[in-house]
């Protein structure tokens, strides 16, 4: 459908808007991460903090009021642990991630930079095609992180890459600036180099739900251990101290 001669790209086929919001009691650092995401997603809408701790499906209504068909929700627990929800509102599916190794753009002091509102190239690792749950996540990431070409706030250049890789069944996020080298370029040399912009984070899948912030579980990560379990492991019963039910 793309007419190269006239530059007409045809009817838009990808319309996405993303609601961004966090729970109350979120720490400074995670709030900055949310701001970074907002800066990188021109098709996102930031809403004020969400009060409720339970009944998260009320977020579907918030998304609808903001004209969004996707949502990212940051939930802070115990003042240290960050959970990130991603949902296709209002019908699902949705995913709950535990977020590790968070570094915001501010902290990282990386030299890369890009236009605010330029569309990114979204790069996926082939590992995303290796399992059904990862394929589903790839589609969700595409719809949430790829900026549609019809978004109102975009700038007409493509100068950065959002990179998603799977290592250890976890998803690693990086953001690089694309630097085109000035000619002449030596043969065998790439005409492009990358400079990292930030932020950085790692997403550990907790669960994938059928609905948006609700519904049946489609996938749960067998290796996920909650941070509370890590810091306070449940005592294994000592031999001989077990209660024995006598008949």
């Amino acid at each position: 459908q793309v007419d190269r001669a006239s530059g007409d790209l045809g009817k838009p086929q990808n319309k996405q808007r993303v609601l961004l919001l966090s729970s109350r009691g979120i720490t400074y650092r995670y709030r900055h991460l949310l701001n970074d995401l907002h800066a990188l997603l021109p098709h996102s809408k930031k809403e004020s903090k969400f009060e409720q701790k339970t009944e998260l499906y009320a977020l579907n209504e918030v998304a609808e009021l903001a004209n969004c068909n996707n949502a990212i929700f940051l939930e802070c627990r115990r003042h240290t642990d960050l959970y990130l929800w991603m949902a296709k509102t209002p019908n699902g599916p949705s995913v709950k991630f535990f977020v590790q190794n968070v570094h915001t753009m501010d902290e990282l002091r990386l030299t890369g930079n890009c236009l605010k509102g330029s569309r990114p190239i979204v790069s996926f690792d082939k590992n995303f095609d290796s399992a059904p749950h990862l394929s589903l996540l790839k589609e969700m990431f595409t719809q949430i992180f790829a900026t549609p070409r019809t978004s109102r706030k975009i700038k007409p250049f493509v100068d950065h890459v959002l990179n998603f890789s799977v290592v250890d069944n976890k998803i690693w996020f990086r953001n690089y600036q694309v630097v085109e080298k000035a000619p002449p370029i030596a043969p065998g040399q790439e005409p492009i180099s990358l400079v990292e912009i930030g932020p950085r984070f790692v997403l550990d899948i907790v669960r994938i739900f059928d609905g948006s912030f609700c519904g049946a579980t489609l996938y749960e990560n067998p290796t996920f251990v909650t941070p509370a379990q890590v810091s306070f492991p449940r005592q294994t019963p000592q031999p001989g101290t077990d209660k024995v039910d006598h008949p």
Binding site: N14, N113, D125, F157, V158, V167, E180, I197, R234
Partner: protein
Amino acid sequence: TSQRAPRRVPINSTAALTARLASIRLPPTISFIETLALTHPTPLDLAPEAASDDLRRELAFYDQALHAAVKGLEQLRQLGVPTTRPVDYFAEMVKADAHMLKVKQRIAEETTNIKKSE
């Protein structure tokens, strides 16, 4: 806790996941310009010791992103979509000038410190 048997088998419903993917998927004929999404042809295969080695891991991510950038810009050029911003195009950046100045100052400081110690 390792001695205890897991409570139950973790859910991983392939059929339901596949059906859910089909229900939300963008049309397969969608053109590149709509999403600018690319998948690297070979999976990132990091050995456990490489995965915990910052340098090797970051290099693997860099290579994957670079491949996407090269392929992506090639396709955009064919479509006639501009990629690099012209020198005279001024617009708000993701990181403000003040922030970039701080970054540069820090790097300059570090290099002078290294020189001093030499």
